[in-house]
Point group: C2
Chain length 140, copies 2
Amino acid sequence: MNKLAENLKANKLKVTPQRLAIYSYLANTNEHPTVETIYNSLKDDYPAMSLATVYKTVASLRDSHLIKEFNLGEDSNRYDAHMENHCHLLCTKCHRVFDYYGDIDLKHVMYELKSTFGFDTESFDMNFYGICEECSREQS
Amino acid sequence: MNKLAENLKANKLKVTPQRLAIYSYLANTNEHPTVETIYNSLKDDYPAMSLATVYKTVASLRDSHLIKEFNLGEDSNRYDAHMENHCHLLCTKCHRVFDYYGDIDLKHVMYELKSTFGFDTESFDMNFYGICEECSREQS
DNA sequence: CTTTAATTAATAATAATTATCATTGGGAGG
DNA sequence: CCTCCCAATGATAATTATTATTAATTAAAG
């Protein structure tokens, strides 16, 4: 039995073909697809699949902390099954999103948040906006 | 002539009553209101104001970099006229948003992004998720 | 197998946002 | 001051993302 199906079971989610398809699609891409993109990518193999199913599936995967949902100021949400903490690089020209897995130490900041505001940090995210290599090469 | 009107003019935006009202409302709050909130707060003083005007106004203020637009995973966008770089503390219990103006030094990270990926960072943002003081006091 | 509760597909409904377009009014140039 | 032009506004329709409903289907426990 594969890892993804185990993860589903561990969270009391039934292992259905659609659910597995959506989950493994997310696990095997490093794009950060929207519901629309997921749907379009899978509808050839699952012609009966409904958009509503994709919405509900990503919602339950998100609730079980198997994937992350985020929004980068666009019109629709993006999803990512890579749960290691990482941050995003957003190219303001081509609008692609890149990952950065290097870890950023913010213990001192989190300590200050706690001592100054009494705020207990559980997690954080971080987005860098700028120009990607390819776009800056084109520019010159 | 006040500062806000000057800012509008500097960006070739006509200084209309509605626009000034929306802009100064944003400049004088440290909530991070949605379009809906802005509209409801101003419609007593500007009974004729239309929701569409609020949408269009925040869009042009955003395009002129006079305010920031962001989304914290909710259904609607939030706006903030405080342009000094700061990050947000999101309480996962009460869903309030707090500001942190302390500056976080990420020069070394940005340098690494440049040398490893060729990514030129223009700006970044950062969100901390956790429990605020008030909520953690209630818990115990 | 059989049962049952969860999942799904189809579709309707809702909420946020954007587009359209006729009207108005800010403000630059006379 | 006036006048005129074009950006801004308001009313409303349209669009887009997402959620709710419901009846049919199916995974998986016993």
